[in-house]
């Protein structure tokens, strides 16, 4: 086990295709837990987790409150809940008001996870409209975490990556296709 303890990521527009490409390329024994926020309509159900679980080697599930995240597993924020990581290492959910018009919000996930894990955290901003994730990524970086931003030229919607790049000089800026290998390398260091 390397020095990282978790990967957090945020995606909105094109999320399903992005997550399929990214998570589909991770091996079943990927050592880190992945906590993911995808902006959803409040009315969409938990089918996304099931779809991804069926098409990816790595396990994908909707996060339950109070779960202890395990390696080799992706935890998706449920529709209409914020996903947070608590200092005791457990996942937490909240129904507090939307942040950046979003619930779940990427900033909420990044900020709580940065408080819990500090430099042992990797944060990833992917394709999306708007600016959710930018402030969280900046905070994560201030706490010693590693920031990854999808190359805006490579993103279906470049808004979220561009916004993040205005606030943060990331440790890695790269196209989606190169991310799985980066994560595998980082999880090994």
């Amino acid at each position: 086990m390397g020095s990282f303890r978790a990967i957090t990521l945020g995606v909105s527009t094109g999320g399903i295709a992005v997550l399929r490409a990214l998570l589909g390329a991770l091996p079943a024994d990927f050592p880190l837990p992945v906590l993911a926020v995808q902006h959803l309509s409040p009315l969409s159900g938990g089918d996304l987790a099931q779809l991804l679980d069926e098409t990816c080697a790595i396990r994908v599930k909707e996060a339950d409150d109070g779960e202890l995240p395990q390696g080799g597993t992706v935890y998706l924020a449920p529709a209409n809940y914020h996903l947070l990581l608590e200092a005791d290492g457990r996942l937490a959910l909240s129904m507090d008001p939307p942040v950046n018009l979003s619930r779940p919000s990427v900033d909420v996930l990044f900020e709580s996870a940065a408080d819990a894990l500090g430099e042992a955290l990797i944060g990833v901003v992917l394709s999306g409209v708007g600016s959710d994730g930018s402030r969280g990524l900046r905070y994560l970086k201030e706490r010693g975490g590693t920031a990854v931003v999808q190359d805006p030229a490579d993103a279906i919607a470049p808004g979220m990556p561009l916004s993040a790049l205005q606030l943060v000089t990331p440790d890695y800026q790269l196209p989606l296709a190169q991310m799985p290998q980066l994560f595998i390398n980082l999880s090994d260091t």
């Binding site: 909707e62 339950d64 109070g66 937490a92 909240s94």
Partner: protein, 277 residues
């Protein structure tokens, strides 16, 4: 507003919380930290105080000011018939069991402004239990209970509630249950007959009767493990054998000591039935 805290603010917040617990008896140190911090920072931003330290003495002296914190930290917004599939399952698989009792007692813990307690009353009335049930709807916050008691909700919510109601298997027209006026909906007085609203704090208060159904959704998510355990033990002590515990759709008994004594009604329903013996 900065949603995150530096070391000094963390220390200030810690001493504020322990002082509040001493003075008012509400111990927020038992609440899940990450979302508690966000809620308190939101309160602070709207309070006019520059820091938790600046707010500390005024809060300790002024109960009305503290009420605002209590509301900010503990109040959860809800909907009528939120998660319609849950109410459908209650209607189809739980209420038939409840109907076998001559009198049914239900504890709705953390009812906030009462939307779900009224939803439950509508459901029970439609399933023929009218006059045979009592819903004890409790919340930590007295002010929000007042709103619940009034049964007046913004009219703007009714469209969503009507959709929810229909999806939950409602047998009537939802508009039969309220009167509209001045941009608000006043719920039928008859729905209140079976509901008792009362203050109860899951952190310190005890059981108050034997229940056939305990309904507590999206409340435990705000608690730390220790307080969550206490609340679940209270529910367990309150439930008669064969009784039901209905949690939020993302709350589970997996990993809880109580898990083995309960059986889930349908997979991932988060409605649990207490085993006999």
């Amino acid at each position: 507003m900065c949603p995150t805290l530096n070391q000094q603010q963390v220390a200030e917040l810690g001493s504020l919380l322990s002082d509040l617990a001493r003075v008012y008896g509400y111990d927020f140190r038992e609440y899940a930290e990450a979302s508690l911090r966000r809620r308190l920072l939101l309160w602070l931003a709207g309070s006019g105080f520059g820091s938790f330290e600046a707010a500390r003495l005024p809060l300790l002296r002024d109960p009305a000011l503290f009420e605002g914190v209590l509301r900010g930290v503990t109040v959860n917004v809800s909907e009528m018939f939120r998660d319609p599939q849950v109410f459908k399952l209650l209607r189809e698989q739980v209420v038939p069991h409840l109907a076998t009792y001559p009198a049914v007692k239900i504890w709705h813990a953390g009812c906030a402004s009462g939307e779900e307690a009224y939803s439950m009353a509508i459901l029970l009335d439609e399933e023929g239990l009218k006059g045979r049930y009592r819903i004890y709807a409790t919340d930590i916050n007295q002010q929000v209970l007042k709103t619940a008691q009034d049964g007046i909700f913004p009219l703007s919510g009714m469209r969503l509630y009507t959709q929810n109601y229909q999806k939950s298997g409602g047998r009537s027209a939802f508009s039969d249950y309220y009167t509209a006026g001045y941009d608000h909906a006043l719920l039928s007085a008859s729905l209140k007959e079976g509901i008792v609203f009362a203050q109860h704090n899951l952190a310190v208060d005890g059981c108050f009767g034997e229940m056939q159904l305990v309904f507590c959704r999206n409340v435990l998510i705000y608690f730390k493990q220790s307080l969550r355990r206490r609340a679940l033990e209270l529910f367990d002590a309150s439930l008669s054998p064969g009784g039901f515990l209905c949690l939020g759709t993302k709350e589970t008994l997996d990993g809880s000591e109580l898990g083995s004594r309960y059986q889930e009604v349908g997979s991932h329903s988060r409605i649990y039935r207490k085993r006999y013996g």
